[in-house]
């Protein structure tokens, strides 16, 4: 039996590469100065979906909510083996916290026929691990968090192994389910050359429009519109059109989106500056080290 999988992915700034150069004076981070990458654990979620598809058959839809530029991670997903890609983009999504994000994603996922929803455990820009469980609640499906291994799928039920920190737990649940996948689950495959050829032109209607405008700088609006429509339908025929949806398309209630849908607000942001009070330079000599040990004993730091 085949399974329809929906994989939720996120394009994130590579927070591991933060240096002083990308910090603003007020302690905030210049997101634009950091390379945008495929959130690492979302790659593990996609890999697990690909393994399910290889073993049992089915269809993989990848969805991301983000800026138009997030189409890059969708293209990457197509290169790795996803069947369909959806970009959920809308200015009104801005300032969404995890609750609003999970609501918006639920509106998009509900329109798809799915058996299994997969997410990475958490994204490296926020590390909250909240969107997965919140989305499961909004969809009304069972959540299995911290999945490190898919043990079995038998048509109606799924058996999976959860990483519970100091051990593991094997659980079974009836489909549909939402899984959050940890980095230990697998080694994500790289893009396949064949798929890269196939999807080399894959893009969103927004990108089509930008290209057409650049190519036909003197065309009037009506002409551009027609050219865009033509190009998009051609791409759609070849399966290379990345679907683009806004909040109206997914019939989201705007009260639950963006700022108004987000109960949590930022009160203050500070940069991390640690400094020791009364720090001492110790020479790497026998005598100096012996003095330091002595001081630590006197201070009752060492018993």
């Amino acid at each position: 039996m085949a399974y329809n999988c929906v994989v939720l992915i996120k394009q994130v700034p590579d927070t591991k590469r933060i240096t002083g150069d990308v910090m603003n004076d007020d302690g905030t981070v210049k997101r634009s100065a950091l390379p945008a990458i495929f959130n690492p654990e979302d790659l593990n979620a996609l890999e697990l979906a690909l393994q399910i598809k290889e073993k049992f058959g089915g269809h993989i839809t990848v969805i991301t909510m983000g800026l138009p530029a997030a189409s890059a991670v969708l293209r990457d997903s197509l290169f790795r083996g996803a069947d369909e890609a959806i970009l959920l983009t809308d200015r009104r999504c801005a300032a969404s916290d995890t609750l609003a994000t999970s609501y918006i994603l639920s509106c998009a996922v509900k329109r798809i026929d799915y058996d299994i929803v997969l997410c990475g455990r958490q994204a490296i820009d926020g590390d909250t691990a909240q969107v997965g469980p919140q989305l499961a609640e909004k969809l009304g499906v069972t959540q299995i968090t911290y999945v490190e291994e898919l043990t079995d799928l038998d048509g109606k039920t799924i058996t999976a192994r959860r990483n519970i920190g100091n051990g593991w737990q094997q659980v079974k649940a009836t489909l549909p389910v939402l899984l959050t996948v940890v980095g230990e689950a697998n080694e994500p495959r790289v893009a396949a050359a064949k798929k890269m050829m196939k999807y080399k032109n894959a893009c969103t209607p927004f990108e089509v429009q930008q290209r057409i405008k650049a190519e036909n700088s003197d065309a009037v609006e009506a002409e551009i519109k027609e050219l865009v429509a033509n190009r998009c339908s051609k791409l759609e025929e070849s399966g290379s059109l990345i679907k683009q949806l806004d909040l109206d398309d997914v019939e989201a209630d705007l009260n639950w989106c963006g700022q108004s849908g987000s109960p949590t607000k930022v009160h203050r942001i500070q940069s991390v500056v640690l400094a020791a009070k009364g720090s001492k330079q110790i020479e790497p000599s026998k005598e100096a080290i012996s003095d330091m040990i002595h001081e630590l004993i006197d201070d009752k730091i060492i018993a």
Binding site: I18, D127, T128, I269, S271, K280, P284
Partner: protein
Amino acid sequence: MIDVNREGEVWVFAEQHNGQLEDTSIELMSKARHLADTLGVKLAAVVLGDGVKDLATRLAHCGADKVYVAEHPLLEAYQTNSYAKVMYDLIHKHEPQIVLYGATIAGRDLAPRIASASKSGLTADCTDLQIGDHTTVKDKKVHKNLLFQIRPAFGGNIVATIINHDRWPQMATVREGVMMMPEPDGSRKGEIIEEKVQLAQHDLPLEILQEHKRAKKVDLKAARIIVAGGAGVGSKDNFRLVWDLANCLGGAPAATRAAVDLGFIDHDHQVGQTGTTVRPSLYIAVGVSGAIQHQAGMSQSQKIVAINNDPDAPIFSFAHYKILGDLNEVVPMMIKSIREKS
């Protein structure tokens, strides 16, 4: 979601497994006690399970004015749905203004499910909580005595203070090991309130087939002295230096993520954002650069000694004793000096 309610209690979800309270829940009690006192409201612990009433006494000793006990055979083992349902019902019945959870495996699984159902805010992995005022930008309205939910963000490079002024309860998960354990007071008494629980088998969509828990190889949280090695130690063989120094001090050996990833030592020994958060009396960092993710797990150590051959290593900006030199020479000197003195 519940209405903003200034008389609401401060709640701690007292997580237990097999009748054992999680350390993080106990750690939370001292901070929650402080928050409740600042607000002038009661502190309540909420414990779910089967046959867990006895835990109420310990929770009272640790600062709870009230303990809500929800017992049911179907609550014996933790499951997202059953626990979320019972917590949701209790929150809507008693309308606490603050609900805190440990950022444990179960806490991070449970809290978002409850937050989504109650359409309230939730901040993950807080490292500090305070009470303070917030002025909304749009209408310049001052919201007094809100819960400041303080957490590292962006890979630990910034610290964000999050508030939730209109859709309550204000909820947060709190990272393990960052709050001080309270000193239990055996004379403290709390009011025990038994709550009726309505659960059916369909509230438990998971079947737990098997569970395997292993004891951690090292209890870093309990260690008074920690000797941590970083990638600078160079090899697994050379990591022996870290073990030797820890042994002669009666301390615990630890490591940075980089050292763990290089296979120098087991993950159980990892300190930092993705490892354990520690606050020992003495933290000796051997060949540790002091990346922000590592700092997050050890910056609250009472005294920090850093040994590194790179004068620009970030660790030197916050270590108390800075030794610029070759760890292969410095560590043996330290061991010798300690042995001579004791």
